[in-house]
């Protein structure tokens, strides 16, 4: 097995994937699989690309590049979020070339074709008399905001089950008031690994011993069934049971949904959501578990709400606490390079240096991301070796299997078309 598997073998590799094992090497290292992943996964499913807080005012935009696609996500004059292909309708030039910014209208720098933030062509100089601007608006991209989280879908016909998923997860997220939140900071990290290794790594806590900062507040029994808890994690598990019991009382008294919904590979828009306690003070991802921001995201009577955690296939995970929220967006850059964009959200009126210290707010996940980047790079190097053979997932890695099964199922569906 090597990286130069001919394109004709893609279908064969997908068809013979063995459940319960890591993927064969070409899935992680081959350029043809990278192209297939963009086409079959990233161009067909709903992708989390930004928090609404990144676009606080009309005219604010972010650009999102996925393989050959570039998309403008912009807040329009009616305060709604819109998305358009970043391709001028004149001769195709890329229109906005910055990662983010603010525009009055959307103006192509080449010949100054000017589009409104609703995508309508407003101005194209020196056109022939019969020119009809209404035929040359920007091509739109499907976009949805779910409780302040912006998703796009590049497919002409997006997965139809997203409405149902959105409604179910919105119930959990809305109490955190993310639509009103502000970005405290955002950090882009490029991991030297395939995007699937990034996602797989996030789906298990088998490796959490490598995250000393994270383990202060995150119960490191994530993904473990009771019978699988090793002796070394037993005390943590007992603390978890106690905290979980207390947390359920709090959630119920506040009317906050908390039950786990786990549909990671049983539907097109695979997801998992659950509200659960954090260790120590139980308030936030900090070294002692206390809140990192004095001003809570919403008018909660307690800061001790643990974490509401959400996974979305194929490219995102989230943690929502009482005091802040963190979003993670994963964008493949190449077969062996992946962008992980982490965004910290706080109450709009929270003041840096007064209500929160940025270093305290970001320390745990900055360290954890850096550690994960090392793990992912090592995994990429390993699977690139001709000696690599797929290995078995532990029961604690059942969500990794669910992710890979979802992925392979989506490829099969695409290849059958």
């Amino acid at each position: 097995m090597n990286a130069r598997t001919p394109a004709a073998d893609l279908g064969g590799l997908v068809a013979r994937r063995t459940a319960g094992q890591s993927l064969e090497a070409p899935f992680y290292v081959g350029e043809d699989f990278f192209g297939l992943d963009v086409e079959a996964v990233f161009a067909r499913h709903w992708l989390f690309v930004a928090a609404e807080a990144e676009l606080p005012e009309p005219g604010d935009y972010v650009t999102v590049n996925v393989g050959p696609y570039s998309v403008i996500v912009v807040r329009d004059d009616d305060e709604a979020v819109q998305a358009f292909h970043n391709v001028c309708r004149h001769r195709g030039a890329r229109i906005l070339n910055e990662e983010r910014g603010s525009v009055g209208n959307i103006v192509c720098g080449y010949h100054r074709w000017t589009y409104g933030v609703d995508g309508k062509l407003l101005h194209a100089e020196s056109q022939a008399p019969g020119f009809d601007p209404s035929c040359f608006g920007l091509r739109s991209v499907h976009v949805r905001s779910v409780a302040g989280l912006v998703f796009i879908c590049l497919a002409e016909e997006p997965p139809a089950d997203f409405d149902e998923v959105a409604a179910r997860i919105a119930r959990y997220i809305e109490p955190h008031n993310l639509r009103q939140a502000k970005v405290a900071t955002q950090i882009d990290l490029v991991e030297n690994g395939n995007w699937k290794l990034t996602m797989e790594n996030n789906r298990e806590c088998y490796h959490c011993g490598g995250h000393p900062e994270l383990q202060c507040s995150l119960f490191p029994i994530y993904g473990y069934a009771e019978e699988d808890i090793p002796p070394v994690l037993r005390p943590a598990y007992e603390r978890y049971l106690k905290a979980d019991d207390e947390a359920r009382g709090t959630y119920e008294s506040l009317g906050l949904p908390y039950e786990a919904i786990e549909e990671l590979d049983t539907r097109t828009t695979g997801f998992r959501i659950q509200r659960e306690p954090l260790d120590l003070a139980g308030e936030s991802f900090t070294e002692d578990g206390t809140a990192a921001c004095r001003r809570l995201l919403a008018d909660f009577p307690t800061g001790r709400l643990g974490r509401l955690s959400l996974h979305m296939q194929p490219n995102a995970w989230f943690h929502f606490m009482a005091d802040h929220a963190i979003t993670f967006s994963v964008i493949p850059l190449a077969a062996d390079r992946t962008l992980v964009r982490t965004t910290w959200l706080v109450h709009p009126d929270a003041v840096e240096g007064v209500d929160y210290d940025l270093d305290t707010l970001t320390r745990v996940w900055t360290a954890t991301n850096d550690q994960d980047a090392v793990f992912v790079a090592r995994a990429q190097q390993g699977v690139t070796s001709p000696a690599y053979l797929p290995g078995p997932y532990s029961p604690t890695e059942y969500q990794v299997e669910a992710f890979v099964n979802w992925y392979v199922t989506r490829l099969r569906a695409h290849l059958e078309q």
């Binding site: 005012e57 009055g104 209208n105 103006v107 100054r112 000017t114 407003l122």
Partner: protein, 338 residues
Amino acid sequence: MITESSAPAWSDGPLVCRQVHDLTPDVRTFLLAPTEPRLFRHDPGQFLTLTLDIDGSPVERCYTISSPPTRPQLAAITVKRTPGGLVSNWLHDHLTPGTMLRARGPLGLFSLARHPAQKYLLLSAGSGVTPMMSMTRTLYDLAHPADVVFVHSARSPDDIIFRRELDLIAATAPGIRVAHVGGDSGRLNPATLRQFAPDLHQREVFSCGPAGFMDAVRSMLADEGFDLARLHEESFSFDQPLAGAATARAGGAFKVEFTRSRRTVECDADTPVLAAASRAGLSLPASCAQGMCGTCKTTLLAGSVEMRHNGGIRPREIERNKILLCCAKPLEDLVIEA
């Protein structure tokens, strides 16, 4: 004397004042010469930009070259003293034979050299006479066969600039007719226009003067069914409207200084800054000119504007003193970072 072939054309640099002529009680012509032997090559009707140092501050003003290119050793500017006018008063008080100043040019598109025709109608008011004078002198010096009707509007007979020279030209050139209106003789109106130029539709028309005068000319010509593509206008360098003008506006133009271009232009309250800059020969980045594309977005460093845009700028940008030059009209003197 130098000959045209022996020296390069003048473009910019130091000039020295050679002579000053009093034309009317408040209008003077200043004859300017290069400090090295050079010739002025310009089209009749073009202007130059003077860079002056007044009380330690650099100031720029555009003035039409009133002399014709047929007399290329000198460039003349003809300036009316304006009450309170910074530059016109400075020139009247300080520009004497031997005084040095700097200028750039020639600039501008307002010239019959760009619109060759058999017949012309020149309509001017006040100091709008200066480009017409350069054009008329050129045709006269060249014994050009064109048929020219030159109608000048003035406040009173005493205010007619170049009157004796124009009388001489009219008396000796077979193709040039000159008429004056204003004061007791009445204003330019459709009847007088038809009287002076019954063959109006065969003529290329040049109009120069205060904004109100030019607006009146434009609407008069439109009412006559004249093809406005053959009307050419110039408006920039006039210090004040004259009483002879039909709907001359009180208040006049504001000063708009561009810090990066190091140019100052004049712009009245009804003219977008971009248009005024363009007329003064200053090209700034712009595209739609309708307040949409934002290409002309710049920072307003001083002053205030009225701005009706079409989405090319955001309220928070306006809060940060950004403006769109294409749709910003001055409410007072402006300083602009462009």
